[in-house]
């Protein structure tokens, strides 16, 4: 934070002013956020754009006794500007409509969990010249390969600080770093005149964990695996999801479906299914914010509530939702510490921390070896419908499995399934897993799926 700005006295001043300004005020919150980032973009395998940016501001949330909300934000941190923002927020609150579902902002917590490895000083102090070196590493991999014809990639480093204060006694601050590298490579088989693309990415808390060469190599392998495409006939066969496929079909849809807000609006295919079996015994999911050094980890959420580890699904049984203080208040329970806030300029939404599908006992090779004929799916551009759970879409990156071996990649092949059927048909989960951002995903086998091919 800018040394000239004393956020503590500004926050105290602001909260006092809000309380004094309106006798109908129930509670108020002040959130300070600062971000500093470096972004390097690679297009056509050369550095196209380098950017350094910073963002620094404060937001004010006031709520009256009838639940009416006023919210303002500014990047001017002078006292006069804060006064103006509070006046406007209170005007908005007075003009707003009542919301009896709102109960309260979080109360004071005396203890916060200890989570290590969220901040790396090397990342905070990273210079653009150093960042370019990481970008050059991925460019080199593409340049040195005969089949690779182009690459788009990104290197983004980020340092952020946040300070949360409210009139119920919350007073907490923290800082964290993250770094993301992604690569998308296009390859061409010059003999068959076939092109294909592949991608990979990683997001880490510290600079030493970032492996640009490995990411570019994975993207290259992925692209090559997607060459030599064949059309197949319609079939009913086992489907193996790679970790990326597992995120697409299991973790990401469940993360959306257990979001308290989605659920309360009845936009989730899991409505009415709490405490019911929704999947096979292999379906075990937790949302764990307390693992040292992971991207989804945090000591406190976007409203200052201590983060936790929560079991969401155990042996196929759906146990609980994730909440911020608003949706939890509506249910009459405590927030689960999942208030998510990407910037000071938005009100808190709800998001997962580290959303983990528990790994199983099989090795990846065992899972594939036992399949006489099947499909391995890595990527589709489609997403399931979260309200109905229905999915139908195109397999963009997938291969056929024959007698336990991964063979040709698929062309113009689609498949459709309802997610609840997919969850119930999980019959193996691998020991190996990959972490992509806040998702930890193993390989998963689905017993039987209807595949729609285009071969005559």
């Amino acid at each position: 934070m800018d040394n000239k700005v004393d956020v503590y006295s500004l926050a105290k001043y602001g909260l006092n002013l809000a309380e004094k300004s309106n006798s109908n005020l129930r509670c108020a919150e002040i959130f300070f956020g600062k971000n500093k980032y470096i972004n390097i973009e690679i297009e056509e395998n050369s550095i196209k754009n380098s950017e350094i940016g910073s963002d620094f501001g404060v937001s004010i949330r006031v709520i009256d006794k009838q639940g009416s909300l006023g919210f303002t934000f500014t990047n001017n941190l002078e006292k006069k500007s804060i006064e103006k923002m509070i006046t406007i927020a209170i005007k908005m609150m007075n003009a707003g409509t009542e919301d009896l579902d709102f109960k309260n902002l979080p109360e004071k917590y005396n203890v916060y969990p200890s989570v290590k490895g969220l901040f790396d000083s090397n990342l905070k102090n990273l210079q653009i010249e150093d960042s370019v070196r990481y970008a050059k590493d991925v460019i080199k991999i593409c340049n040195e390969d005969e089949m690779a014809i182009s690459q788009s990639a990104n290197f983004i480093s980020n340092y952020s600080e946040k300070y949360i204060f409210n009139t119920n006694g919350i007073e907490i601050n923290g800082n964290e770093t993250s770094c993301t590298i992604s690569s998308n490579i296009i390859v061409k088989d010059k003999i068959r005149k076939e092109t294909s693309s592949g991608n990979d990415w990683q997001s880490k808390r510290s600079l030493k964990e970032i492996t640009p060469v490995k990411i570019a190599k994975n993207a290259l392998e992925d692209a090559k695996r997607n060459l030599n495409r064949i059309k197949i006939k319609n079939m009913k066969v086992p489907l193996i999801l790679t970790p990326k496929g597992t995120i697409r079909f299991i973790l990401s849809p469940i993360a959306s479906a257990v979001n308290g807000e989605t659920f309360q609006y009845k936009r989730s295919f899991l409505v009415g299914k709490i405490n019911e079996i929704i999947g096979s015994d292999y379906l075990n999911i937790e949302d764990n914010a307390l693992i040292d050094g992971l991207i989804g980890s945090a000591q406190f959420d976007g409203e200052g509530v201590p983060c936790k580890n929560k079991k969401i699904i155990e042996n196929g049984k759906f146990l609980r939702l994730i909440h911020n203080s608003y949706t939890a208040g509506k249910e009459g329970i405590e927030s689960t510490g999942n208030a998510s806030r990407s910037s000071y300029s938005s009100v808190p939404s709800i998001g997962v921390s580290n959303f983990i599908l528990k790994n199983g006992d099989y090795t990846k090779d065992e899972i594939i070896k036992n399949v006489k004929e099947g499909i391995i799916l890595d990527y589709t551009g489609d997403s399931p419908n979260i309200t109905t759970g229905d999915f139908s879409g195109l397999i963009l990156h997938g291969n056929i499995i024959k007698n336990g071996e991964i063979k040709e990649s698929l062309n113009e092949t689609m498949f459709g399934i309802n997610l609840l059927d997919l969850f119930k048909n999980i019959d193996a989960v691998s020991k190996e897993f990959n972490i992509y951002g806040g998702y930890q995903a193993p390989f998963v086998r689905i017993k039987e799926v209807r595949i729609i091919g285009s071969a005559n």
């Binding site: 229905d390 139908s392 459709g416």
Partner: protein, 187 residues
């Protein structure tokens, strides 16, 4: 703002603009004519690299974003079929009235299209509404399998989200019929 009348479009559309965000006047760009690819959309950068004149497609969302090559109003020109004639002339097919989303893998040309309102066509008659229909194919193959183009054009507004920016665009076109599309769905 736009030059709608000049190109015999009845009114100014959502994707109209006078000049692009690099100062190049907006202009009609013929992309495909009689089935032959004629030109690309260009910004100053891409046109200079390919040694073509720029054609006014360097568009940015705001002062804080860099111009990217993208469309303005994309139009498929109408021909002479009525929708009724198309349906009557179709033995077994799907009438897609609206779609949820669509995408194309640019490296392979494989596209996928998720219908919102789609009806079965059987023996030249429009039948029941179907749920969650997906259509797929290879772009260049399907363009060659267009067998009828309607006579009435309609327009729809939208936002182009390329590179995380939001820019006003518009599409216009009649009903078209393409043969042998792969159909996917739940059942």
């Amino acid at each position: 703002m736009g030059q709608g009348k000049k190109f015999s479009i009845p009114y100014e559309l959502f994707g109209s603009y006078f000049i692009d965000d690099e100062g190049i006047p907006s202009q009609k760009t013929v992309i495909i004519e009689k089935g032959i690819l004629k030109s690309y959309l260009h910004s100053i950068e891409t046109s200079s690299r390919m040694d073509f004149p720029p054609n006014g497609h360097g568009r940015a969302a705001s002062i804080s974003s860099k111009p990217q090559v993208r469309m303005g109003i994309t139009i498929l020109e109408p021909k002479d079929w009525s929708l009724e004639e198309m349906i009557e002339n179709t033995q077994n097919g799907i009438l897609c009235e609206d779609f949820q989303y669509g995408y194309c893998d640019p490296s392979t040309g494989n596209f996928q299209f998720k219908c919102k309102m789609s009806y079965k066509i059987e023996n030249g008659e429009k039948k029941e509404l179907m749920r969650d229909v997906s259509l797929s194919g290879m772009t260049l193959e399907v363009l060659n399998r267009i067998s009828a183009i309607g006579k009435n054009i309609s327009y729809s507004d939208g936002m182009c989200g390329k590179g995380g920016q939001s820019v006003r665009v518009c599409d216009g076109g009649p009903y078209i019929r393409a043969e042998n599309i792969i159909v996917g769905g739940l059942n």
